[in-house]
């Protein structure tokens, strides 16, 4: 038993040594692998990650080989897929959903010379695990502004996937900016408890519409909520999520948040090739071009469009932060004082609604 532990430690040390030297010298060829939570044809979240992966081949040609697996369930199955990928010669593995957080760290411990990159998580338990995320809440602020201005019923809706900080952040940002321009606005949140289940997403959108909601933002991966909104002949509008979802232009899709992962993927694989790769915790947004705001269509009045674009530009220039005080928590206690800007730590662990939102976050 002891000897085995010793051997394992030695192997680990050896691996670390080799891994270290390899990254210092760079590599001739990188195999980049991607784990997807949905199909690449979802035209949303997974589609955008895959566009980033394809961009790698475009940029580096023969020096990069990509491999990917779609529809990988979060949890134990992911661990199997990751191990398989690690054994099949991947040099860097991108795991593109929050639920892959623990599997990524578990598998990373076993393969110290392979780089792991986990999207939207916060655990970096091993030196070969990096995390990357996008500041989606910046885009939500712009959607909230449009929603507050556009709603006629003063009811806006949000289809949440899972009650995790990333989603709660989006809900708060969306609500705060709608409230700012329309004090009467009420927000309904429906938790779908799935990232990708078009039938359930459509049903959730329908339930919101039946409740009188006329602006729907969704935090799930498919176009189903927009398809449901399209049935109302323009009475209900929504936003493209993760991808542009341009098929639903000019209405119900009046704008969108586009996740542009390509620059990050190109940068990281480039670093692996030239030997400058280091563990990072990346969180880029509109300024870096990782979050893009899709065209605001003519279904939105020109003045609202101009205001929304001004907000986008202010965020890009760094002069406006969507979470700027005074902001109270749902229970009325003070979160941010006048003029204070939310620290990243607060945002990454956000588990509360801001003042004015009714209902509880499921635990």
């Amino acid at each position: 038993m002891k000897r085995r532990t010793l051997l394992a430690t030695a192997a680990l040390g050896l691996g670390l040594a080799f891994g270290g030297s390899a990254s210092a010298q760079g590599m001739d060829k990188v195999k980049a692998c991607f784990v997807y939570v949905g199909p690449i044809g979802d035209l949303g979240w997974t589609y955008q990650h895959h566009q980033g992966a394809l961009e790698l081949v475009e940029t580096y040609g023969d020096k990069v080989e990509i491999a990917f697996q779609e529809n990988v369930p979060e949890g134990a199955d992911a661990e199997r897929v990751l191990t398989q990928m690690a054994l099949s010669g991947c040099n860097i593995i991108f795991t593109t959903s929050f639920g892959y957080m623990d599997p990524t760290n578990t598998v990373a411990a076993k393969f110290p010379d392979i780089k792991f990159e986990h999207a939207t998580g916060y655990k970096r338990e091993h030196p070969n695990v990096s995390t990357y995320n996008a500041r989606f809440y910046e885009g939500r602020a712009i959607q909230g502004h449009i929603a507050g201005k556009m709603t006629k019923t003063n009811k806006i809706g949000y289809i949440g996937s899972f009650p995790i900080p990333e989603v709660v952040m989006g809900i708060n940002s969306y609500y705060l900016h709608a409230k700012k321009v329309n004090p009467d606005v009420e927000l309904s949140v429906v938790w779908a408890f799935t990232w990708f289940d078009p039938a359930k997403e459509a049903d959730s959108a329908k339930a919101l519409i039946d409740q009188g909601v006329d602006v729907i933002a969704s935090h799930t991966d498919s176009t189903a909520p927009l398809a449901e909104a399209a049935k109302t002949n323009g009475a209900v509008i929504g936003f493209g999520q993760a991808s542009d979802m341009a098929d639903y232009k000019p209405s119900p899709r009046v704008s969108s948040i586009i996740d542009n992962w390509a620059p990050y993927y190109v940068k990281r694989v480039g670093q692996l090739l030239d030997g400058t790769y280091e563990q990072v915790d990346s969180w880029a947004g509109i300024p870096e071009g990782e979050v893009e705001i899709g065209e605001i269509t003519d279904a939105v009045p020109a003045d609202v469009k101009a205001e929304a674009e001004a907000m986008r530009d202010a965020i890009a220039a760094g002069t406006y932060h969507p979470f700027t005080g005074p902001i109270n928590k749902q229970d009325g206690s003070v979160w941010l004082a006048e003029g204070a800007v939310a620290p990243d730590g607060d945002l990454l662990g956000m588990n509360f609604y801001v003042e004015g939102i009714s209902g509880d976050i499921p635990k």
């Binding site: 199909p39 979802d42 078009p198 039938a199 459509a202 509880d360 499921p362």
Partner: protein, 309 residues
């Protein structure tokens, strides 16, 4: 408005949400009445969903899409018929295999159809009837498939109860040996029932991909076929009860989302599991009531028939 929910909207939403499981359940009900247990409903539904979608996109006609969906479901059920009626394979195992096969095959043939919008299935114009308060909203603003599904329930009920064909079908399901001795072609009747079940499941699937979600993605039916199977037992093999079962299940599914949207202070987890919980509770109550539900099952259900025995 009750608790912030408009009952008219709720009822009209539940009628739409129940259509896929209702169609599939009615098909399976006929199959089981003929003495065949086909657990492949989910597989046939998803084949119907993908075939219907492809047909609708290629031809630009939603109606032809539904025809395609029915054909797709029936084609897959033909495999089941071949396995169980000709090769006398085990029905449970064949049915499960059919589901797995259907899920895989649909994903393969649907690959180039992801992200396309199908032609829309219009609502039936009832003119002034649609403007009647409450009733207009509930009854007269649906697409034609909603009405067709109820009509199919009525037709199935009438066929089973009042026609010679129904009598023969039931005889085959109750005692295939006796039916055979009387000169009925047990195997032929069962194959036809299986094809009908496949076509109905296919229609249900096509409704999901053409109306309810309007798009194609892998695994779009998301377990609706299994619920249809449960509803057949729930209904104790009677068509009108299947309608009740489907509406009850669809209703609770819609209600839980509406409660969330209306801001009811009930934990979401309970709401999400409620449709399944209610199904289990009702099944337990039904089967404990002097064993009626189990007595009602066709006597030859799941048994293979071979003329030499």
């Amino acid at each position: 408005m009750i608790g912030g929910i408009d009952p008219a909207l709720l009822i009209s939403a539940l009628m739409v949400a129940s259509v896929p499981i209702l169609l599939a359940a009615i098909g399976e009900l006929v199959v089981e009445r003929a003495g065949v247990l086909n657990l492949g409903v989910e597989g046939m539904m998803i084949m119907g969903a993908v075939c219907g979608f492809i047909m609708a996109v290629q031809t630009g006609s939603a109606l032809l899409g539904f025809v395609g969906g029915a054909l797709g479901g029936a084609a897959l059920s033909l495999i089941f018929a071949l396995l169980t009626q000709v090769l006398l394979a085990n029905q449970v195992a064949s049915g499960l295999a059919l589901t797995l096969f259907g899920l895989g095959l649909s994903s393969l043939i649907g690959q180039s159809f992801v992200g396309i919008r199908p032609p829309s299935t219009g609502t039936v114009p009832f003119g002034p009837l649609a403007d009647i308060p409450f009733l207009g909203r509930v009854l007269f603003r649906h697409d034609w498939v909603v009405y067709a599904s109820v009509a199919l329930v009525a037709a199935t009920w009438w066929m089973l109860k009042a026609t010679r064909m129904g009598l023969i079908l039931r005889a085959v399901g109750e005692s295939h040996d006796a039916a055979h001795a009387l000169g009925y072609k047990v195997r032929k009747i069962r194959v036809l029932a299986i094809l009908f079940g496949g076509a109905m499941a296919g229609l249900g699937g096509a409704y999901v991909s053409l109306v309810r979600v309007p798009q194609w993605t892998d695994g779009i039916t998301a377990g609706a076929g299994w619920i249809a199977l449960a509803i057949v037992v729930f209904a104790s093999w009677r068509p009108w009860r299947a309608l009740v079962g489907a509406y009850l299940f669809g209703g609770i599914t819609v209600l839980q989302l509406n409660l969330q949207a209306a801001g009811a202070r009930i934990p979401v987890e309970y709401l999400s599991m409620s449709p399944y919980l209610i199904t289990i509770i009702v099944l337990v109550i039904m089967s404990s009531g002097r064993g009626k539900a189990s007595l009602n099952a066709p006597a030859s259900l799941g048994k293979n028939f071979h003329a030499s025995r």
